[in-house]
Symmetry: C2
Subunit: 144 residues, 2 copies
Amino acid sequence: MTGTPRVDTAQLMELLSVSLGAYHGDFTVAAATENLTASQGKVLTVLRRGPAAMRALADTMTCDASNMTGIVDRLEKRGLVSREASASDRRVKNVVLTAEGERVADAIRTKMRATRDGLDKLSDQDRDRLYTLLERVFIDQTAS
Amino acid sequence: MTGTPRVDTAQLMELLSVSLGAYHGDFTVAAATENLTASQGKVLTVLRRGPAAMRALADTMTCDASNMTGIVDRLEKRGLVSREASASDRRVKNVVLTAEGERVADAIRTKMRATRDGLDKLSDQDRDRLYTLLERVFIDQTAS
DNA sequence: TATTGTTATACTCTATAACTATA
DNA sequence: TATAGTTATAGAGTATAACAATA
């Protein structure tokens, strides 16, 4: 197996910054539409995959466990998630989406899918930047 | 001028998410090394380009003006920035880097340049994903 | 009248340390 | 002893509303 080709990191990072800036902005707006913070929306999105222990959620979001306690507290108070005791380890609490939580998580996902399908927030200039980057990678690759 | 080629948005977004996650993590660590939060580090980075009014800073970071007041207060208390009256509009205060603020901003930039040059935080798997994406774009392009 | 910046207020996120109940 | 989760605490980011100074 040959090594993967190198790319222009500076250009890639600039592109990433612009694109994910738009993505993050859209996610924040999508969550706010359901009266949620971005962190709360992210937890619901993670839980769409299935129940998760408090510790696992904290690891996924790279924050302290004590922090996750507060976030889940607020979600639980609004009836979007519930804590369930683990059968195998009595120390563990599994966080599960309620029916209402599923509805909200799906609403966020639907809004984000629109973003993913369109790259609507990218300006023509940014779209050209993307193309320039890809073109350059192609040229570098074929010239080697 | 022909239109720019389309790319697989879902794959691109996944790649962006992983890559900018690494970038954001590195920036947070770089700022923390100087005992700064990510927001504070971002303001110093913006000010490397030159002085900026409070309102302009708030717009750049897409937060409320009242929020920027607190952030700049903390930076000023540590001697990293100063507020200067505008000559043309007496309502405006321009925020300027102090010598120490420049030193800290440069230290963050140096650490981030190392990240930019390496993409070190990307796993081999993610590097392969990047290559796969680029390869697919190349094939679609030449096949059309 | 509109804009710049601040203050007051309230909520959320965040980490650290200390605690409990399990394992 | 180590781990899962919580509580207490404190600092920082965030937005809203009201305000003074200026345009």
